[in-house]
Structures are given as structure tokens and as C-alpha cells.
Symmetry: C2
């Protein structure tokens, strides 16, 4: 076992292939590939024409591929090298603070220029679009984490980037907007007056603060209206996006070789599923093929408990009911989670792959109250220096809980989590926490029950 | 020559000693050590009692040491390992964008948890204080870069941290305040009502926005009044602080070995001098002892052109005339630079070591207008991803200018600069730049002439 604090790979050791979990899924592939994606209007499987108006062809192909390993194109690897391989840390100072026999390791994705794991897929989607002659992308963003990643990726490939940013975030959280504009992206506060849907919303309410659902609809409409000039980029949920993120977990496995250990518990925070999947799927692959028995744990917010309390059924991908329908764990597409600071985890649904694996018992999940996650984030920062993003604090809290369990049981286990982003753009959330202005939300039982009354009727 | 994008050292390769330039200084050591530090009242060399009320003994000892290499204590190295060794990058994408035959390398200190080089000395000062039984530190901070570094270092050694933060920054730039509070520091908006000096200022003007000069005076008063319980920590200017930062340049030299090249030009932005010195002094050591002829270039703001336009003479270290007097390049201690966004470079004076080296012709300096530095920062971000802090953009601009010169001359040179911090907490500055709200300031000739009328009379 190495005495190091960090385990660092050379650029040559960066994975050359992503891990595609499709062939290893314990369910009928139809449940996770495009043929289980239903058109929101016809409720029939989506057509290739529908998909190709939105996504690059190579991206569409990845979704149905049954190849276990898919090559990472060299132009993508060239850009990955700007921050990858990212370091794996042994949290020695946190272990000491917890007085635990557990060994805690964290992978740090905050080293990317925009401070999160999101560029791992943004760069790929931009490369595919460029390769296919597309001029650029439309997308939506809430607080701006995904928008920043796509804006940077588009600039690297000299593509246009049109970001529909929820208006209330545009006005109240200017830092990520500035970051995107600095990369040359066009930012439209949503609802905007440049799409039909935006105009409709504004006609009803000129002061609409916007929502992620509205922004998605605007971005999709703008891509379709461009007649092939622009495509639509999504930062989570879809199979290829999860796969692009597996570079994270694949690096981590190599780094555990350097550390001379192997994890007993692998933890990621979860919203749409891409951060969790990218970190955890390579470990599941080891479980499937190498007889390891690593526990894989998803940490979600108590106020949006999609895995732990949701139903595994067909629902719309967006809250407006305009996006495709997929089979997933859902709280009902018109369930509106409480306004917690972990904005990236406020999604009513879940990536279909993750849902199927959870349903099959391959992964576990835990739902955590907000205050406990900020307390964990602060404890982590005081021990290790890095201040974790509000989303990430869910993984931190789950890891600390596992480490305390080790202490109580008197057993030493190896615990690892993905520190998928820092809090440099979210410090107002910590300010609220430190000033006692945050509170926990009760489990929204009634709201979820109501929302579940409005699932789409599907005959599949 | 390596094809890599990054050059990364293992933890074992992290320097075990700092480089102390004292024995290699081309001037009488009296001009840079404590015996050239004069008491602001008596104008006589400061006494050991005066110094020991403010600084840890081991820190005082470093200032007068003539040992060329000083061991980095293991507890400091343990904490350095949380982010060190930091990466050296070849800016291949920027070279391409500039179409230059030059090779551009940047060292990236933004990987520290607080996003700058400042913890390299904060951790050392905290360790020395802990070792000597001190309870904690007082310090001042403007925008909060230094305050964050000291707050983190104090928490790591379980020391109290009392930061006097310029009130206008406390109110307008809450993010770094939150960061410090999250590490457990006590933040006092300055002027405060807990020091005599603060009370005086408030009596005259209850709405005083504060200044760095006032905050320094409050922090020094609070340290002295604590009767040894608290010491005072300074983040730049003093010899030991410059030395602690040499870990940056020493790593860089090892990384150039990996790259298979050696720099012709070494560039750092300069305010008080610690970032510049930490990066450049190890290269000067090579010039002194190994007959290299590397050009060493300091990049300062046109509106605070301390090296290029200042006089090399005795002046107060602070603007209030309450701090000790040292021989340095100065624009006059009551010169108030224009309110540029590179707050860390708005200092009327200069580290005595840097001043002596500049006076002797060992280093060069260039003064840059604000708009050109933001343009360079944006160009860098669009090529390399990382958004440089407003201070750092001065080094970026100087490096780009050198690279363009190479193109014009048709020669290939190796250029390196220290990317000493990212702009995550300074994005409002980029917002102003992108919105066209920034302008350049003319060289403040009259203001400097006026300020130079008020130098202290010194008989040395």
C-alpha cells in the first residue's frame, strides 16, 4: 500500500477506450436503447429522422452499440489532456478527523477548467458535431455547470453555442453566464423571444422566471428549426453521455493499482445519472466479469428521492411533457422538487441504465437531507482544503457515513467517491448554510403521489 | 522534446528545500535583511523585540539566513502534497492560435484548494506559529486571495485566524469571505470597532469603506495587543515569503527536464513580489551559477508601475505610514493606484529583494495597460480552457507579446510564465470587460510626482 496522498497517471496511461455497459446490462437492451425511447406525441418508438434532427449520427450510433469498448477519438483525447488524467486522492486528513479505520479515496474532477466532470462528454459531442459538418449546438442550462462545459467545448472546435439559461439563474447567478460568454457562447435568458415556445410563455407571463423544462423546449425547438445547422446537446441521462463519463471510473481503477488497494464501496452523487455512472460503471464491469463484490452506492437528495422513492415506469424526460418518454425511475414529470442548492440533482427522472441496474439490485441508493450534506462538505473542506459543490456534498456525506460505520464496526474498508465538482461558483449556498438560513425539507410524499397521477399512457 | 501537454512530477520529486537567494544577492545583504528594516517612528533599524511581537522566530531567522538551501519541514510538505507538485503545461493550443514558432509553457498554481499560489507560504507560517505555541494569526486581506490561503492553513494546524477584510470588499465580494468562514476564520470588516485604530477611523467616518492600509494597521495592532498569543502574517514582500514560494520555480526546472527544453524567457506578474520571485529566483540561481542566460521579466500594471517608473529609495511599507520603512522601488506610500481589477498588483512598493535585483540589471520589467491584459486572458481561456485571474493576465499578456515577437523575428524561443491563479472569484471583472465597461488609465505621472514628495526622511 502506497504512502502517497495523490495517485497520478501519466498522459499515456489515460484510457484509450470508454466502457459501454450495453452488452453487460442485466436487462433486455430494448429497455435502455433508442427503441425504448417514445415520441412524446405519438407514444411510439422515435424514428431515426427524429433523432438525427437532434443528435450527431455518431452519438446516435453509440446509444445502440453492443461493443463493450469504444475508442476515444484522438482529437477528444488531445483536449482531455488539458485536465486528464485527473488525480485520485487518499483523504488521509479526513480519515484522521473521523478517527476511522476506513481508507477514504476521492477522485477529483474539479480540475477541469470549468470545475466539474461535465466537459468529459461536452468535448465528445462537439467533436462529433464538427466531424459531421454541423455549425453548432443549442442546449439548456440551469445554474450553468453544463452550459459552461459545452461553451468551452464548442470554442475548442470553433462551433456556435446557443445556451438557453433559466432566466432567474441568468439574473441571479451571473458568474457562470460570464464564464460562458468569455468562451464566446450566446446566452439567451429563457423564456426568450426567439423561439415560438418562448414567445408563447412570454405572452402568458412577460415576467416568467423560466424553468429547466421551458429552457429544454426552447433549445430543442431551436435545433429542429435550424434544419440541420445546429444540433441539440444534452449533458446527462442518455446512454452515450454516461459512457463518455466512464473515462473517470476507468482512470480510478488504474489509480487503485498504484495505491495497492481496491474499493469495497464506490459512491457517487446522482441527479440525471452521468456523474454516478461514469464513476461506477467500470467498477460494475469488474463485479460482472472479475467476481469483485464492490458495493455501488448512489447518493440523492431527500427532497428529490428518485431512486429510493420513485416508480420504475414510463415517463416524460422533461417537466413540460414535450421531451421523449423513457422507462426510468420517476417521481412524476410534473413533480417540482424543493429549491435545494444542489440544483444539478433536482431531476424528477433518472438515466434508464441506472434505473434498470437499480431495479435489478446491482446498485444501492440512499437519500440525504440537505443540512447533513453541507455539514459534510464543510467538514471535508476543513480537512482536505477543497470545497465540494452542493451536489458533490451528497457523495461526501455518504462516504463519511460509511467511514463512521467502519469505526463503529471496528472494520477497515476502502471507500471511494467522485468529487465531481468544486463549489467556487456556489459559495452563496455555503453562505446560507453558515448563516443558518438553510433548512431540511420533509419527504414530499403528497406532492409525489399527485405527480404520479399524470404519467403518460403507454401501451408498450 | 516530449509530446506531452502536461509535465507532472511525482510527490517524491517535490523539492525538499527552498532556494534562499540571500547568499546570491548582488547587493550588500544589509539592504534586504531585517537590519535594513526601519521602525516607522524612530526610523532606526527594528529591534528583535519588535519583530518577535509580530512574526514567528523561525520566520525571523529565515530572513537573515545565508544558507542557500533551507529544508522544507515535513509537516509542511505533507500539506503541500494536497496540491503539489503542480502541473507545468505546454500551451500547444495557444501557440497554434498565435501561429508562433515559440514554445509557451505555463506553470499552474490554480490547483491549490483556494485557487492561487498563496498557500505555499501561508502553510509555512501557520506551521511555525503552531510549533512555537502561538494560538493563531491576524492578517489583512483586500479581495480575499491571501485571507483564504491563511484561513485554510490555520484550520489545518488548528490555529485561530483573524482576518481584517477591507469593508467595501467584505460587502461587495462575499464569495471569498464565505470561503474563509467555511474554513472557520473570523472575518472583521475593516475598519472594525475592535482595535483602537479602527475605532479612530470610525469616529471620523462611520461609513468608511476601509483600505488595505487601514486593515494592515488593525491586524498589526491586534497581534501586538494579544501579547504573544497571536502573530501577524504577511502574504508577500518579506524575504521568507519570497523564499517559501520558490518551491514553484524549483518544480518548474525539474519539469523542464521532463519536457527536454529550458526556458529563454521566464515571466511572472508582480505586485508585492512573492509570486514573481517564487517562480523566477530559481532560474536566476541558474543564471548565477550555471551560466544560463535566461531573461527574467516582471509584468506590472501601467496604472501602478512600481518597477518601471518608481524610485529605488526608502519608504513606508503601507500607505498609512505605520508599517516599517524599507529600501525598495516605490511610487510613494500615499500614491493611490487606479481601481483596476488586478487588486493584488495595486501596491505602491516592491519586495526589497526584487528591487535590488532590478536595480542591478538581473531582471527586466514591463508595464501593461488593463484592457490588453483582459484581452490576453480571454484569448488564453479560449485556447487552453483555464480563465486566468486579473493579476495573472499580466503575465499572460507579456508571454503572448514575447511569442508574437518570436513570430515577427522568425525565431523559436522557449517562453514560460506562472499562471498563479484562476479567475473563479473574479468573473465580475471579465463581465465588465466583456460589456465594454473597462477602460485604460493613463500613466499617473502627476499623482506619483506628488506622492514622491512625502517619502520619510531617513539618515541611513
Amino acid at each position: 500500500m502506497s504512502e502517497n496522498t495523490k495517485f497520478v497517471l501519466s498522459e499515456d496511461e489515460m484510457p484509450k477506450e470508454w466502457y459501454n455497459i450495453n452488452p453487460d446490462m442485466p436487462v433486455n437492451p430494448a429497455e435502455t436503447a433508442w427503441n425504448a425511447v417514445l415520441h412524446p406525441g405519438t407514444k411510439e418508438p422515435v424514428t431515426p429522422e427524429f433523432l438525427s434532427a437532434l443528435f450527431p449520427m455518431r452519438f446516435i450510433g453509440e446509444a445502440v452499440s453492443m461493443d463493450r469498448w469504444i475508442e476515444i477519438p484522438e482529437p477528444v483525447r488531445e483536449i482531455y489532456r488539458l485536465w486528464r488524467p485527473s488525480p485520485l486522492y487518499r483523504a488521509r486528513r479526513l480519515e484522521k478527523a473521523l478517527d476511522t479505520p476506513a481508507h477514504i479515496y476521492y477522485k477529483y474532477e474539479g480540475v477541469s477548467p470549468v470545475g466539474s466532470h461535465k466537459p468529459n462528454t461536452a468535448v465528445v459531442q462537439a467533436f462529433y458535431a464538427k466531424e459531421e459538418g454541423t455549425l453548432g449546438f443549442t442546449t439548456e442550462t440551469g445554474a450553468g455547470q453544463w452550459g459552461c462545459a459545452l461553451a468551452m467545448a464548442c470554442k475548442f472546435f470553433e462551433l456556435e453555442c446557443h445556451v438557453y439559461m433559466v432566466k432567474v439563474s441568468y439574473e441571479q447567478k451571473p458568474y457562470r453566464r460570464v464564464m460562458m460568454q468569455n468562451y464566446g457562447a450566446n446566452i439567451h435568458p429563457s423564456p426568450s423571444d426567439i423561439t415560438n415556445f418562448g414567445q408563447q410563455i412570454l405572452a402568458d407571463d412577460p415576467n416568467s422566471p423560466g424553468s429547466l423544462g421551458i429552457a429544454i423546449s426552447e433549445a430543442v425547438e431551436a435545433a429542429v428549426a435550424s434544419q440541420g445547422k445546429l444540433k441539440y446537446a444534452l449533458g446527462s441521462v442518455l446512454g452515450p453521455v454516461l459512457m463518455h463519463q466512464t473515462v473517470v471510473g476507468l482512470e480510478t481503477i488504474k489509480q487503485f493499482d498504484l495505491a495497492g488497494e481496491y474499493p469495497d464501496v464506490v459512491i457517487g452523487c446522482i441527479g440525471g445519472g452521468s456523474n454516478f455512472s461514469g464513476f461506477a460503471f467500470p467498477f460494475l464491469h469488474q463485479n460482472f466479469t472479475n467476481n469483485t463484490e464492490t458495493r455501488v452506492l448512489a447518493a440523492e437528495p431527500m427532497s428529490c428521492p428518485t431512486l429510493t422513492k420513485g416508480e420504475y415506469t414510463f415517463d416524460f424526460g422533461d417537466s413540460a411533457g414535450m421531451a421523449p418518454i423513457v422507462k426510468m425511475h420517476t417521481l412524476g414529470h410534473n413533480f417540482v422538487p424543493a429549491g435545494i442548492h444542489a440544483g444539478g440533482l433536482r431531476y424528477h427522472g433518472m438515466a434508464p441504465h441506472v434505473s434498470a441496474l437499480y431495479d435489478n439490485g446491482n446498485i444501492e441508493a440512499v437519500a440525504l437531507p440537505q443540512l447533513s450534506t453541507f455539514a459534510a462538505g464543510r467538514q471535508f473542506a476543513q480537512a482536505e482544503g477543497i470545497v465540494p459543490a452542493p451536489e458533490t456534498t451528497h457523495a461526501v456525506k455518504a462516504a463519511i457515513d460509511e467511514a463512521i460505520k467502519c469505526k463503529e464496526e471496528g472494520t477497515s474498508r476502502v471507500i471511494t467517491f467522485n468529487l465531481c465538482g468544486h463549489a467556487h461558483f456556489d459559495l452563496s449556498a455555503y453562505d446560507d448554510y453558515l448563516q443558518g438560513a438553510l433548512h431540511d425539507h420533509e419527504y414530499p410524499e403528497e406532492e409525489i403521489k399527485d405527480a404520479m397521477q399524470h404519467l403518460p399512457e403507454v401501451s408498450l
